[in-house]
Symmetry: C2
Subunit: 146 residues, 2 copies
Amino acid sequence: MEVHMSQPLADDLGFLLSRASGQVVRATNSALAGHGLRVRQYSVLTLACQAAEGISQRELASVLGLDPSQVVLLVDELTAAGLVERQAQEADRRTRLVVATPEGHRVRETAREDADAAMETPLSLLGEAERERLRDMLTRIWTATG
Amino acid sequence: MEVHMSQPLADDLGFLLSRASGQVVRATNSALAGHGLRVRQYSVLTLACQAAEGISQRELASVLGLDPSQVVLLVDELTAAGLVERQAQEADRRTRLVVATPEGHRVRETAREDADAAMETPLSLLGEAERERLRDMLTRIWTATG
DNA sequence: TATTGTTATACTCTATAACTATA
DNA sequence: TATAGTTATAGAGTATAACAATA
């Protein structure tokens, strides 16, 4: 028979996760502000930069864990800023591939340096091996729900 | 001389952290909905339950990583629901201690069971030892900034 | 019928500044 | 003058539903 003790909030993984996440997002947002980006836009831009052929908005929504309707607005903003383009696809005329422009690639590269630097403070107490384990665990949390 | 390769988004700890956090918050929120709570309110209620003498709103803000003005609204809602009370403090009449009511303790206890159960799906791929390491790492990320 | 993208809407969360009352 | 709490407001993020175009 199991005894249920009142678990302190400081042991609640959900709480710890969202608190740490909030902290890191804040730090990254302020690092990205000078580039006219916020984390969400930065993430979309990064995925567009990594996909040589472009990436559909459905895929973006799926990878980012967002609703497709939210992706529309993010892509709108990046398009207005000239960092990505929506390209028609002959194969399936419903999908529009999001592709980074040359300017998008440049901005993403310099923004990445600042974003990475901003992460160093919150991660300062974790060694590289620990960071790798953390990446692995966070990825498994994500995949567990599908 | 260091070579900077374009790191994939899937290796970005900030991204992984906020994606996993969002997923867990969603799962917890829907588990708490039946109790009339959301994660933020639940966290405040939990801290109030754990502090026998009550806890000041400043402390709440500090532990939760929120601005004090946000805590006001959360406490307002919990007060309206009859789950916590603000008690005057003779020692320092500026501070008002947030204390859980008996009803607050009851609600928190049943809500906790549902919240914990909801966490099992996202955490299903992590063993207990790993969860403990994850708690430790997330706590260190938090403390690294102060 | 199902899927991709889109629009619209309402709600929650976040960030800031200014104010009050006490210390 | 500094701190605890409060009010107000604007902006960003989240959640749903409904729709057009295409498959």
